[in-house]
Symmetry: C2
Subunit: 217 residues, 2 copies
Amino acid sequence: MAEVKLHGAWFSPFYQRVKWTLKLKGIPYEYIEEDLSNKTPQLLQYNTIHKKIPVLVHGGKPICESMNIVQYIDEIWPHNSLLPDDPYERSVARFWVTFAEDKVVSIFWKTLRTSGEEQEKAFEESLEMLRIVEEQCLGEKKFLGGDNINIVDIALGSVAYWLGIIAEISEFKLFEKFPLLNAWIKNFEEVPVIKKNLAARDEIIAFIKGRKALRSS
Amino acid sequence: MAEVKLHGAWFSPFYQRVKWTLKLKGIPYEYIEEDLSNKTPQLLQYNTIHKKIPVLVHGGKPICESMNIVQYIDEIWPHNSLLPDDPYERSVARFWVTFAEDKVVSIFWKTLRTSGEEQEKAFEESLEMLRIVEEQCLGEKKFLGGDNINIVDIALGSVAYWLGIIAEISEFKLFEKFPLLNAWIKNFEEVPVIKKNLAARDEIIAFIKGRKALRSS
């Protein structure tokens, strides 16, 4: 049995967070792609409460919830640490992870699940959140973590990548309004490990369009 | 200037989490009671994004978001640790903290902000969440953390105390349906530090009734 297994779905930004973290740390693992309409019995048994991907299985024990898994990996394999050493800086990083989870992820779901006017409204609502990240989290830094990516880049980068694609499909100029965010996304996607392990843009576009067609059929 | 200051509001379960943690650790601090309809300029400056209590100020630097503050305190003053030593157990504890934040806190707000049929529906919806805590988190343990309270007890205990009072006022038998949860709440409220530092039940009842009267006037 492989020491580390990861249950995921190729397109999921939450799975991507875990994948990136394992790749950044260089941890070998066995990957199990889940069909979300027909999940494996293992997944349902590992995540009895939420029944969702991603689930990491380490030495037979399951860990659920993407940002919880990222923290677990960072504690078990502390090299290339994703959290600052200083406790105050760590609390700031955790603040932004919570912000990503509470605010930015909800924008992601809203814009993904709507279209037309309703979606435009969701994008408009998101501008205030993105402005907060632009002005209060980014500043002059290359990454949200500083010179290198950290847990905040992982938390936000995954969702920002999707948001950018949804906005592009809908021809909504989302990140163009935020020069620092725009530059950060480019920097983030150019980090070799991230670039190599991003879900393909074209495939996500096809996935979103397929989803939309199915919904309106 | 006091080394540690805490901005709170006596009735807030989120403030209580931080207060309990400081008391459990025996950390002296200066307390600033906030009038939430007229917040101090300091609070607004410390928590520019959410503008909410609680805020802990340590050596002049603000830390926001209650469970983030609890973790920060636990890292700065590691005695009477609130997180398990074992990384896997830590990930399980963090999973339940997220569950409390995402699921149980939303029940708290829903039941607090509604009345009559709408509130009854919110209570009914909450039963599934509470059943999950009863069956999957508690088991045979005295506390959610095991023999002693830990971060999960702090996260859930604060909200459970309020939920119990809201249910009592509305004559909804909430915890009576869950013998283990019921026993845990009693155990938790009997922990000397918690017992001494719980917001007074009568005052919370008066506060909720006042709120309701104001809303319907």
